[in-house]
Structure formats: C-alpha cells, structure tokens
C-alpha cells in the first residue's frame, strides 16, 4: 500500500542545510495500522508531508500502490496536528466535512448521507449546522476525522492528531481511531510522540532516531485486536512493549547527541 524507499529531506537554513530526515525505508501493508513514534523535531511531520505528496523529498521516494508520490495521491486523507486551523471557519461543520466530497461526482443526497454518517461515527450526530469555532478542541479534531472518514480514503495519514487534547478526550479519540480502522478496513499511518499511544493503537510501531533521522527500530505489537484503555494498558504485555519502545527512543536520543 505505502512504501517509503530511502526517503530523505534537507531544509535550507540560513546558508547551510539541515538534514531533517536522512534516509528512511519501510512498508505499510494494505489494511495495516502502523504507528510512527519519535522525539519532537525528529522529522515526523516532514515524513508525513512527503508521504502525502505535500512536500518533495530531497532523496528517495514514497510510493502509494506502487506509484511514485509526486503530488497528493488519490484516495488519501490527512488529519493534521493543528486541527483547529485545518477546519475552515467560514463553513459550518457539515460543509467542512462535505467539501472534499464535492469533486467525487456524488449527488447532493449522497453527500448529505455520507456527512451524516461520518458525523455519527465520531459521535457528533446532527452537528452539521454548528460552526467549528463553537466546538471544543477535541470536538474540532473529531470533525477533522469525520471529514477524512466521509471521504472514504484507502490511506489515512494522521500527524499527532491528539497532541493538544486533554487526557480523557484523547483516550476516547484513540478508541475511535481503532474502531474506525477495524470497521472501515483502511490503512492507517499514525504519527505520535507518545510512546503509550503508539503501543495502544498500533499493530506495529516504527521508532525514529533523532535527526538526521533514520529508522531506529520496528516493534510488533502483539496485543490482539480488542483493546481496552484500562485492561490493555495495565497488562504486563503492554508494559513490556512500552519499555521496549522507550529504550529505543532513549537510545535514539543518546545516539543523536
């Protein structure tokens, strides 16, 4: 589904160049939920923007369905970290969710149905007429997720979507993502700096190093399909996995110094 082959990106900073991502290679299979975790500033956003076709790589390439990404690939949805700013304040919630559907050749009724269904899935049923700025941060992020869901993407890219919401909302949103993923059978790449979150959500966790960033480790999360905020998180298997990820990140930080 998604293949990243030797991808790298340099930024030009006053005269010199800063290597944000050195060289990364990995694959994500159809229907997988993969978490990418790494310390702040290690190039997670840079990586996601290259996969989404929003930023050209300096080296290497990303492929979606075997085709090289040279612009946003069809059938891909992105949920950004800055949820509040990714919604359009001049559109009500319904219009925000509907906008990407307008070019899909659907009838008005079909679009309405998809919007209503997506809002129901994120627990915002009937909020079509509300303005985004009347909602709390967690609700705004759910609108952004509903927009992605209504679009029915094959690949969903998420960049630290819950970094700025409170703990309880965050737990709810994590369960929502797992629920949507298993229900819709889409491929999800979920970026986070939160170790617990990466283990709780993913089937696989990719750990990035500090810049210049490479792939530090790959950890399979054998927690099974049914996860529960309380039980899963308090079990010994979870503790072992999070310790493994934690060790890799610590080593990555030291390696980067």
């Amino acid at each position: 589904m998604l293949e990243v082959a030797g991808i790298g990106r340099d930024y030009r900073v006053d005269g010199g160049t800063h290597t944000a991502v050195d060289s990364l290679s990995f694959q994500v299979a159809e229907g997988e939920l993969v978490c990418i975790v790494g310390p702040s500033g290690c190039g997670k956003t840079t990586l996601l923007r290259m996969c989404a076709g929003l930023l050209a790589p300096t080296r290497g390439r990303a492929l979606v369905d075997g085709r090289e990404v040279d612009g946003p690939p069809e059938g891909t949805a992105v949920v950004f970290q800055e949820y509040g700013r990714s919604l359009f304040p001049w559109m009500r919630v319904g219009a925000n969710v509907e906008l990407p559907l307008k070019r899909l050749g659907l009838t008005r009724g079909e679009r309405r149905n998809r919007v209503a269904e997506a809002l129901r899935l994120v627990d915002l049923e009937g909020k079509e007429r509300v303005w985004p700025w009347q909602l709390s941060g967690g609700m705004q992020q759910r609108v952004a997720i509903a927009r992605a869901v209504a679009f029915r993407p094959r690949l969903l890219l998420m960049d630290e979507p819950f970094a700025a919401v409170d703990a309880q909302t965050r737990a709810d949103l994590e369960d929502l993502i797992r629920d949507l993923w298993s229900r819709l059978g889409i491929t999800v790449v979920f970026i986070t700096h939160d170790i617990d979150e990466s283990v709780y959500l993913g089937q696989r966790v990719l750990v990035l190093s500090s810049p210049p960033t490479t792939l530090r480790a790959e950890i399979h999360v054998d927690l099974g399909p049914d996860r529960d905020q309380l039980e899963t998180r308090s079990g010994p298997a979870f503790a072992k996995l999070r310790a493994a990820v934690w060790r890799e990140i610590q080593a990555a930080k030291r390696g980067g110094e």
């Binding site: 946003p72 800055e82 990714s86 906008l99 303005w131």
Partner: protein, 256 residues
C-alpha cells in the same frame, strides 16, 4: 432587544448632537457664508427637485457605482493573481508599496489629461484611487492564508478553482472587505472632485455651480446631501459586511 435599542441610540446619538449643535449655533447667523441650518434645510426642498435628482444626483451615483464595481473586480482579480504568483508578487511589490503611499487625488489632473472630460474620465478617476486599497488588501489576504488550510485543500485534491473559491477567497475575505470599505470612502471623494474639475452634471458640479453663483444656502444643501449619501452608503456597506463576514465577526466575538 434592549441591547439593540441602546446600539441604535449610540449610533445616531453623536450625529444628532452635532446636528443640534449646528442648528443652535447657526440659528441667529446673519453671515452670508454661514446661513442658519434652518435656511439650508428650507432651501433643500427647493433645490433638490426631481429634475436635479435626475440630472445631477443619479449620474453621480451611477459613475460612483461603475467606478466602484470596476475597482472591486479589477482589485480582487489582480490581487488574487499577484498574491498567488510568487514571481509576479516579487516583481510588483515595490510598485505596490509606492502606490500605497500616493494620496489618491493627486492623480486626478493627470488622468483628466489622458481620459478627457466625459463620463469615462470620471469613472477612471474613481478607479484610479479606489482600486489600490482593494488590490493591496487582496494581495495581503491571499498571501496570508493559513498553510494548514492550503495543505488540507491540496491533500484532498480540491483542484485550483475549488481551492480558490472555497478556501483562498473566503480566507482573504476579511481583508478584502476592509479594502472595499476604504475604497468606498475614496470613491465618494473622487467622484465629487472629478465633477468639480470639468463636468456638465453631477453633485460636485452642482455644488461648484451654486458656489460660483453665490447661492450659498443651496451650496450648503448640496454638501448636506453629500454627507447623507456618504452615510447611506456606509450603512449599506455595513449590511453587506455583516452578511458576507458574519462567520468572522461571530468567531471573533466568541473568542473574545
């Protein structure tokens, strides 16, 4: 409801006080140049007959309308083009900076030289001053669209036209409306000035004619009419502003 009444009272309060002050201060005036307000108002009905409305007021308003509409279309279209095209922006930036600094009326004699003294000249004069605030504000607004919003539009492959109409223009609309408001005020001023230079009709023409024939109360009544026209246009613009930008004002009220 009480709030609305209070707002309305505040809005008409100061004008009413000024009007009363003018009335009282000028009541006993025997000065030829500053007749009592009562005399001006009495003159108003005499002067602004249906014929004058048809021959002077309507042409003025029509020229203003044409000049303003052209300014809006040209200002927004060019502003979007310049703001969205990097090399064009770099190329035009110094010129735009200069144009911002030039006071609009200085161009009047120059444009008259080239455009003659017909209606076209007057519309051109209005456009020459009004287009700048719209153009400059559109450029600034289009350039300051939230990058995440552009990323969102790109990621969902909205396409050029839809991105422009549904993302870029609405995002820039508060700035564009600000520019249009400034342009309207400039447009009214330039309309009057252009009619004072060389014209056979128009509000500015009529006022200058009264002044030259020492019909001072009539002149004052013309100035009063101009003031009312300006106030009416400003009120109309506020209605437009609230209709187009209600999301913006609401959001700001909510955040405050």
């Amino acid at each position: 409801m009480v709030n609305a009444i209070r707002k309305a009272l505040l809005a008409i309060g100061l004008p009413a006080v000024l009007f009363a002050a003018w009335w009282l201060a000028s009541a006993g005036s025997t000065s030829f140049y500053f007749p009592p307000l009562s005399a001006i108002i009495a003159e108003f009905g005499e002067t602004w007959t249906a014929e004058r409305w048809r021959d002077d007021v309507l042409p003025s308003v029509a020229r203003l309308g044409a000049g303003y509409a052209l300014s809006c279309i040209a200002g927004i279209a060019l502003g979007v083009l310049i703001g969205r095209t990097r090399w064009l922006f770099r190329l035009t930036e110094p010129v735009l900076e200069f144009a911002r600094a030039v006071p609009p009326p200085v161009l009047v004699p120059v444009i008259m030289l080239f455009a003659g003294i017909g209606d076209g000249m007057k519309v051109a004069v209005i456009v020459s001053g009004s287009v700048w605030p719209i153009l400059l504000n559109t450029v600034a607004g289009v350039r300051s669209v939230e990058p995440v919003q552009l990323d969102t539009a790109a990621a969902y492959r909205l396409g050029r036209t839809r991105t422009l109409l549904e993302v870029v223009l609405p995002s820039a609309s508060p700035r564009i409306v600000t520019g249009m408001r400034q342009a309207l005020a400039i447009g009214v001023i330039l309309m009057v000035i252009s009619e004072m230079f060389a014209a056979q009709s128009g509000l500015g023409f009529a006022i200058v004619q009264f002044q030259r024939s020492y019909a001072i109360p009539a002149m004052w009544s013309g100035i009063l009419l101009l003031g009312c026209l300006g106030a009416a246009l400003a009120a109309l613009f506020n209605v437009f502003d609230r209709a187009v930008l209600h999301w913006y004002h609401h959001q700001r009220a909510e955040e405050a």
